[in-house]
Symmetry: C2
Subunit: 176 residues, 2 copies
């Protein structure tokens, strides 16, 4: 009674205090990680979202997928219109190239330019000390757990977002 989860693995003798503190810490870490990301972007002369778009494109390239505007928007959980406008700035800065997808000429395929790849390489000079500070206290066993857990959490996170949006819609229907 009064707990915010029913998963017994997360309860300490029926108490969810540890779990609440954990959620709080995850959220707090998230804001710090975002601050670091914004700072790394700024070191390249970019805003946080622009930097995020670059590394999302790179991530998709490395996976062998091709990245359209909509793909980036889905990954980042922002609107397509926003990606369009930020990508246009990145194009103007010579960091991404746009090409129409020959298989579907509505789609725009995004790739990193050589200049962008070089700037990302140059950035590692700063990334290394920052990442070492951030994750210097993790050991191998902890990292293995984190590495296996987070992909699942992302997928479950998507489900939870859908669920909360559904609850919200239901509530607003009841109000209206």
């Amino acid at each position: 009674m009064g707990t915010t989860t029913t998963n017994p693995a997360l309860l300490d003798d029926g108490d969810d205090h540890q779990f609440r503190q954990f959620i709080y810490d995850v959220l707090a870490f998230g804001t710090r990680l975002e601050a670091v990301r914004d700072g790394l972007g700024a070191l390249m002369g970019l805003t946080g979202p622009q930097y995020s778009i670059l590394i999302t494109i790179r991530m998709l390239e490395q996976k062998g997928s091709r990245a359209s505007i909509g793909d980036i928007a889905d990954y980042m959980h922002v609107s397509g219109a926003f990606v369009t406008s930020e990508v246009n700035k990145l194009k103007k800065a010579g960091l991404v190239a746009k090409a129409t997808d020959p298989d579907d000429r509505r789609r725009v395929l995004l790739t990193l330019t050589e200049a962008a790849e070089q700037r990302l390489i140059d950035l590692t000079e700063y990334q290394v000390p920052v990442n070492d500070t951030l994750f210097g206290s993790l050991n191998r066993e902890q990292f293995d757990v984190l590495r296996s857990v987070f992909p699942v959490l992302v997928v479950d996170g998507d489900s939870a977002v859908r669920e909360v949006n559904y609850l919200l819609k239901k509530q607003s229907n009841m109000a209206g």
Copy 2:
């Protein structure tokens, strides 16, 4: 060479690919967690930041600390002026009370009202299914690792934020 960390525990035979993917997943999870938080806030009729302020006050209360405007700002990594303005809205809504600290009359101490505590209790009805979706696949061993790791990551995160801001300042000094 080319890796973004030097911590050997995070490298797979000298390669940081797993580590990069992990960072990407943590960031992705962060955006989803934030979306869930915003949704839970909306279910209470609040914005995400307002909801965050409420649970930050509650967290500090439970720790036995008293919460000033500046304390909340530090915890949330936002400006004091922003906390001031959001807290004033929460006060108008009858959810937080402001009192001047007798020990330092510049400080404003924040407490949750009964109404706020009740609304947070009512919210658990929605929180339970959402948290179960989010964290339903975690087992005890994984949770124990996460629970021990995240408080450290938050502290190290603060250091990393300071470090990246220092690098940024140094760079802008060199430019100017």
